[in-house]
Amino acid sequence: MSAELPDWYVLKDPGDITLDVTTWYKFAETRLERFLAEDDWIINRPSWMSNDDWVSTISEEIGGHLLLRLAVSTDPRLSSWLVEVEGDLFEFRFISSNKSEERIHVLKDLYGKNNVKTTEEINELFNINLNREFNLADSVYRSSKYTKSKQKYGSKVKTLDTRLAVRFHKIPKVVGAKKALLYKGWGIVRLADIRLAVKREFEKQLKDVIEKSKVLIEKDENLEVTVKPITDRISKIARSTRYSGDFKNLGFADGDAIHTKPDIFPPCIQELVATLQAKGHLSHVENWQLGTFLKRIGMSVEDQLRFWYSNSIDNVGMSYEEFVQRVGYQINHIYGKTGGGVDYDPPSCKTCINGYYCYWAHKKLEDINEDIKVKMSQRNSEVIDKAIEEISRLIINQRYQSACARYFTLLTGWKVRGFQINHMLKYSQDAYKRFYKKKETTTNNSKTSDKQKKV
């Protein structure tokens, strides 16, 4: 199987690679630089390149990738970053490859070899002609739908319209969104409709192998020391590339205790706070998500230590001082006061969807609908029902950031530029503008009118 997989596919078994440490660093550095520069990546061997050069290019890529895997394995934030950039690169190559057999082999590797077939194989298996049975040949290329994709993929629009067959339970989201033609347990899908699911599966499997490589680092101190320079380098890069916008200057009024205004928290943070208060604990990445958010909206280290002490069950029978001593280092780490001294930002929405907590991606649809109804019980029920319906559709179509934007509009009456929320801090920044800056104005006005009345 591996022999048929394309060389660029980083989940492929690399076989034996022998490298000296200096070369290994160089490869990893090069890969990092290329991610940063959003470089053009080669998919197939160009006609002008010799076979030897091609082999060394690929070895460089795979070697670099393997070191990056090891380097991020002990830090979930760095691991999320790598999964994200490798996922983007995988998606680009998967779609751009002009060899359809390559795509099929990659899919077979990701979903299992018995779970993927070509439409021709399905025709043969069931003695049917799918095109004739379901008028598929009449379908025109949906170029208008892919206007944006066209800019990104150019002539690949035709490729995006290619159909293939995947066992339906391997692509549950695509099936649930009714984007697959189901036939006897097989989802006949366009590449365009499956590419996101394929990318997610790749990211999931990459995350798993990174998790496994953590054991190697934990067992071997020398290896940990070897990868440390690369870990530090990624840490810096991840920090500088992952977050757009200046989240240290959110425009909150001086002295305004934003953390006491939960109505401007995005749904993910509201949910994490509620879960923490109800259960007394969160997962490691959720702790990180909530902690970095609270930091960036202005909560001091001391306030946050108090917040976690009063809400988590870890502290039963523990004095505050003991708590600070035992658990406080995590909070201090978030503030850059321990560890590498990095002043961390909260993860982006995309990262939350893939590895942290996103209210829209991870909570049950029924419960979301119920939450909105309860929260908006005073509002016009027709408006709420319509919004719930729209939000449900967006969630079903996996457009979680747009669902969040639609919810924001329902809550505030303000439209979101680009119709998607990209970062939890941006949500809070805008909610603050809507609810508190306006209130300040209103309060000032009402003070004026009071004075006028008195006069």
Binding site: H169, G176, K184
Partner: protein, 326 residues
Amino acid sequence: MEKKLTPEIISAYYEKKFPIERFMSFIGLSNFKNREFGFVVGDKNRFVRNISFQNTEKMLEFMVKNSVKDAYVGAVFDTPPSKEHPIQKIKWNYREFIYDIDIDEYDLVRTCGCKGAQYCKECWSLIQDAAVFIDQTMREDFGFNDIIWIFSGRRGVHGWVRDPIIQKFDKNERVAILDYLTFIHDEKRSQSIDEIPNEAKPLRNRIYALTAKSYLEKVTPKKLHEFGISVNKANDIIKQVRNSVDFDHTRYNILIPNDSAFRKKLSSEIVLHRYPRIDRKVTMDTNRVSRMPFSIHGKTGQIAIEIKDIKNFYPDSAPTVWESLM
């Protein structure tokens, strides 16, 4: 006079008439001792679960001795469920995929006057249509073969899909099947609906062939006229549908042109009024217990029999415990 379901009657049924072999062929012989059961017992109708049995004799002995009013069967775990080992603390192994269709789910769109658990020939046809639609979808679209329908004993039917692969499905995989079949997303299910999809062609074609046919056979010309066509045209459509012996999506497409505003409104109405309404929570929850096939319904005394011909099944034809003991 209404008959009383006494403990003696219940015990007599489980001792003499309960078809244990059929029940066992239903849930399968393997791992019986690791399967969860639940029962309603005693004067206070206490619901007990986390119960398992070494063998079928022990199960029947329990049911006879406690005169269980309602009996339920749940999932299979890696160890026998018990008070000491409740299902939350043991590893889940597998569970049949179960549909629950109840007539009261249609209360908002029933026009016959029935409410709640009441039903008549007119509204029960909604249950028949739903079961036929789901049965066909599970076989043709999802490729499952082992599907059995059971009367719930009161106001609905349960569809058990028993193919080995589906029994292992986790919640996400079960939800995918439900989402594929779901068009209305709010709880009351009275809102406008998802558009009938273009890509999921077999599902779309089935809606036109089964659901639309059923709707158009029963609708009044006046109602169709409200959607923007003349009464004459409405009469013509209804007549053609009623006279058609092999109505399918092609016929529907000829009758109702694709680009008309009428078609859009009609599609919405068809799904809203006649499309299957599934209790999603029952299907999604892999730990839920379901009425035991061939058991007695504690409120009606009817037996939860296997339905051979779902298209023509009507609850009155299911025997009661009193009839069974005669």
